[in-house]
Symmetry: C2
DNA sequence: GCGTGTAACTGAAGCGCGTAAGCAAGGTAA
DNA sequence: TTACCTTGCTTACGCGCTTCAGTTACACGC
């Protein structure tokens, strides 16, 4: 094993460039209000590059009090590909602002979130659903300057999804809708919001609110829901996500109910296997890019001490992917 | 907005407990070789608890040179739920050793991995496939003391999967096998390893190696593969993962080929929708728990400066989930 | 020649912590 | 008594960096 291969520090760069460490710091962070001639600047940058200097983030954040690290707390629930795409978008958008995203799966058996926040020294923490006030306080005491989403914001984020699902079915002539809520309790809140959106759409169209039923990823629960719906005259079902939708689909096939003729089904997320379902599943896809940008804007604004701009409440951008299940 | 609510530092604890900071540090890290009476120890721990003291990881790692942070570099490819379960297991196992796991999605548009490593101050970096020597060097210069998996280890990790898939089909009487390789190029290496495992099993049984074909998540490529297989007398197909398997399934149904009578299909990962496929998909599931433990052992050993124990080469623990697609 | 201003830096403090080294008090042992 | 532990702490340094408060060198105006 090779000896640890000492890191290059800013002192190394300073020495090699014949300036002080302060100057190196000014150049590398191009600090405004300092007048540094182009020649010196270039020299320092060149040396830094040549020595493969990488600022020691730990020391940097200790000194400056800031940290460039944004912690994403991912809830410990069945995660689909759409989440990982969201994470990717988020990381890219943050990188544009010089911020680094790290993710932490907040399982019960891992470490408590404030601990993680303190160990990595995160300046901002993002969750999927709002944190309760106590948690926010704990995170702030652990060093987080910004905690997202704000209690108000997350509330409305999921509503449009449900609305679009229902609106699509209503457009296609369905008069009585069902809503498939996943059995997993962690989805409860999100599901409630989406259901609310669907309800809104129904009421706006003068229809009765959707008949909701709990559907797990198995034929029993899905089968029960399907027969209940059929009995109640439901002809179109919005599912919380594509997996739930596929359970409904499978149950319908199993009970000899034709899709979409007797029962139309629409999911959410457009997972990779959605087009492979029988029949191919109509779904709704968010513009993760837009959502990520919005989140990042909030963070950057928050870190700059401004209240976030009160513009578009998150996810206007939702796209319908029409296939043959509706 | 409340003012930032200053963090409690070890100095606060020291003051409140009427001792010096050094003593606090000794107690909280229960440093061996120091004789500290139980009374003092308790007092300090109580005060720390009362003040909700959380050591500032940043400062701690700057001072000590170590950092408790393990960085998991997740490749930027379609990620399934099984990966997130693996991450969870890993986080839990690391937490038992006082280590904190953070994840970074290594997309092209994010920051380069060594930069991330340097900013978070990770002591260990874990990837899914081995890093090439240059990358390892870069990471080490960025502060990583351990980089996994070692070039040797990852190589053999995927082979047993393919072997088990093929063995299962051979057990059930299939004499000519196919292998469905995903179209996505990032899976290439993993797929090659699994295919090798399947080939091994065939040869061991005195059969011809599997006929491999590239299958994307669409009916065209999958359909072509299926007709080719049927034409070649293939009666059983191992798919790289469940999604690919579902594409094969969908194409078979589409071409009126009966599963499993005319073509048996087995996947990998046991994704949530696998039981909902038509017919329900036979799959192979790793014991993520065991894999995670192994990785963690390697890390802990590496951080302690020992060469890793040369025991079981990772994933002996693979479980077959038999359903009706085979 | 002197004060004033600016460009181009440098010196040094200190972020929160770990840790080597030191030190006072009390207890042996000789 | 002195010499030498041991216990139970404290003092002080430094990790790599940012950043404030200078300092020097030089140009300018009068």
């Amino acid at each position: 094993m090779t000896p640890p291969a000492k890191r290059t520090t800013s002192a190394d760069v300073a020495r090699a460039a014949g300036v002080s460490r302060a100057t190196v710091s000014y150049v590398l962070n191009d600090r405004p209000g300092q007048s540094i001639p182009e020649a010196t600047r270039r020299r320092i940058l060149d040396v830094a590059q040549r020595l493969e200097y990488r600022p020691h983030g730990t020391a940097r954040s200790l000194a400056s009090g800031r940290s460039d690290i944004v912690l994403l707390a991912v809830p410990d629930l069945p995660i689909g590909a759409s989440i990982s795409r969201f994470v990717e978008e988020l990381a890219a958008a943050l990188a544009e602002h010089g911020l680094t995203l790290v993710t932490h799966l907040a399982g019960a058996r891992g470490r408590p979130l404030p601990d993680v926040c303190a160990t990595v020294g995160a300046t901002a923490v993002i969750g999927f659903t709002p944190f309760d006030p106590d948690a926010v306080r704990a995170l702030q005491r652990a060093g987080a300057q910004v905690v997202l989403p704000p209690a108000a914001d997350g509330d409305a984020a999921m509503v449009p999804i449900g609305r679009i699902q229902a609106a699509h079915l209503i457009d296609r002539g369905h008069q009585r809708l069902g809503y498939a809520v996943p059995a997993h309790p962690d989805f409860e809140q999100m599901a409630a919001e989406r259901l609310r959106g669907a309800t809104d759409a129904c009421i706006a169209a003068g229809l009765a609110p959707p008949l909701s039923a709990s559907v797990g990823l198995d034929l029993q629960t899905a089968g029960r829901a399907v027969t209940d719906w059929i009995a109640a005259g439901v002809t179109g079902v919005c599912a919380f996500n594509d997996e739930t939708a596929m359970a409904v689909l499978a149950a319908a096939v199993h009970h000899g109910i034709r899709v979409p003729a007797e029962l139309a089904v629409i999911g959410v997320d457009d997972i990779p296997v959605a087009p492979l379902a029988a029949p191919p599943l109509t779904s709704v896809r968010f513009d993760l890019h837009a959502v990520a940008r919005r989140r990042v804007d909030l963070i950057v604004a928050g870190l700059a001490g401004q209240e976030p701009s009160p513009e578009s409440p998150a996810m206007a951008a939702v796209q319908l992917i029409q296939r043959s299940s509706t």
